[in-house]
Subunit: 336 residues, 2 copies
């Protein structure tokens, strides 16, 4: 007779929340009152508050077939930290909502919170509240994150001007290749397989780099590439009535993405441009500041690439490759 | 041939978010940057930040059979505002996450946001961000709310001492009777039916009253009765190693709850004590301040009742009624 695991229903809502929040209790001096009351209380400070939220849905954003609960906890916090990173903000506090069927093992949620606690601790993020509720249709996770930034200094999506160059951190297409490897659609060589799958399961947000870029004062506009690089171009340019000219030869396409695209018979540029969730930073600087910006990136041990130029609006978003030029449509992951 | 309604899938994620957030755009001077970027930015201030979150799940917390989308939008914000009210905080900013199947009509979400916008405007809450994602299993809604409160003045669940009296705003069992009426389990007379159903569908958080109670400086501990009055007793007393003696004769049980309990063959006290989501405030004050506290409540046009006393721990949570005394278990709505 095998022992049945303790479920969320066995533990009950109040005790489950208590158990989970014990795992993330923090001694952060900016937290006046942590989890356990109707609300949390955070100490006053003289900075701007940066606020973002994100939701993850089982069967849409993740699958427990390859996502360990710890990785999922890491992942949902990482995605939100990446939004803070794109503004150059300092992580501050988080609240989480979890919905799950009553027969979900309690240990699944404890492991999820261990993942949340791990990344939160490393980035100085205090988890100050949470909600656990029932669900009839799978697991749903929502996180809201607060950050801090000195007034008037946050990097935003607006601010690029024609002639600016676009700089990108890291490599692209890595998370997409990791997802295709985890799903068994491609077979990657041992080394790049691990890096690609890790990028999908446990991405590291560019928090420190975002802060350094903000402090440099060089950045005109910044965004993270969570949806896809193609969509990021539109957010940073089209919405400001500007275009983008991308130099295909300078795109830092990961070896894993090249491999995966070839195996799937897809165009490697499309594969890398449309693949989301790399959580890199894309930003605009004046051309004379490009070298300094790349140096700031490289000082953190990360690759930095100048990948294109901000143009006038009429020129759209285009990719120059092998002497030709073609439009880049704003494609990425669609939830519907 | 009937025209097919436009769905979330037709509109797409980015345009849907844009359309929804246009409905809640606010000119709040404390919002430095509203929706549309990776994060929102809020101006510095010298108060403590109050933070809470809450999730609502289709089929668990609500049913589109009787919940109009506008009411649902109202409802999810009201529940979170009630948490701010229990601390005496001023509403500030909110972010929402929505997960829904791709074939959900776009108008459902626009109407939901109209409900969000209505209550947010009335309470001075700026909706500064949101996320719309796909779902395979019904609609999930998650809200995180920020409030502000002068440092050191927030009312919390901790702080009651033996001898304190417990004061309750409004009437209890109303939302439960409304839910049972909406579900067709009871038949209420016309007048109380409307009030009860309205309380379930469009509860009004006690924000102004919470602020006045905080400013009075009289309150030792405060909680909202969202889970149930029975559970609120435990949060405000048992977790502080205290007991509660409730005087059944003074409980402000709504007429609708009395009617509904009788029709269902249930004990009226249990029905009213265990029914959640009335969103009233329960708080502890010194006995000599009880009259002043009730007066503050009544000045806002609300009923105020002294319903019991904080006792030593060994005495548990008990109800005195008809000369007898029995324990009140911490029962309320269970999600699992």
């Amino acid at each position: 007779m095998s022992e049945k695991p303790e479920t969320l229903r066995d533990v009950g809502e109040i005790d489950m929340i208590r158990r989970l929040l014990e795992r993330v209790s923090s001694a952060d001096p900016s937290v006046v009152l942590g989890p356990g009351d109707d609300c949390a209380l955070l100490a006053p400070n003289d900075e701007e508050t940066v606020l973002t939220c994100d939701a993850l849905v089982e069967g849409v954003h993740f699958d427990f077939g390859y996502f360990a609960p710890e990785d999922l906890g890491h992942r949902v916090v990482a995605a939100n930290l990446s939004d803070l990173a794109s503004m150059g903000a300092e992580p501050w506090a988080a609240v989480l909502s979890l919905a799950a069927p009553g027969d979900t093992p309690a240990s699944t949620f404890e492991r999820f919170y261990d993942g949340v606690a791990g990344i939160s601790d490393r980035y100085g993020l205090a988890v100050v509240g949470g909600d656990v509720v029932g669900s009839r249709g799978g697991v749903f996770i929502s996180v809201a994150l607060l950050g801090k930034v000195p007034p008037g200094t946050a990097m935003t999506r607006a601010g690029a001007v024609p002639g600016d160059v676009l700089v990108l951190t890291g490599e692209i297409g890595l998370a997409q290749a990791g997802l295709d490897s985890l799903g068994g659609r491609v077979k990657l060589p041992h080394g790049s397989k691990k890096a690609a799958e890790e990028r999908h399961l446990r991405p590291e947000p560019r928090v420190e780099l975002g802060k350094r870029l903000r402090e440099s004062g060089l950045v005109h506009a910044c965004i993270d590439t969570s949806d896809s690089l193609a969509i990021s171009f539109y957010h940073i340019a089209t919405s400001q009535n500007l275009g983008v000219g991308v130099d295909g030869g300078n795109l830092p396409i990961s070896a894993a993405a090249s491999d995966a695209a070839a195996q799937l018979g897809l165009d490697v540029y499309e594969y890398a441009l449309d693949g989301g969730e790399d959580f890199e930073l894309l930003f605009a600087v004046a051309p004379e500041d490009a070298d300094s910006a790349v140096r700031i990136i490289e000082e953190t041990g990360c690759r930095g690439s100048v990948i294109g130029t901000i143009t006038e609006h009429g020129e759209g978003v285009t990719l120059s490759v092998n002497g030709g030029r073609k439009p880049i449509p704003p494609k990425g992951f669609s939830h519907f």
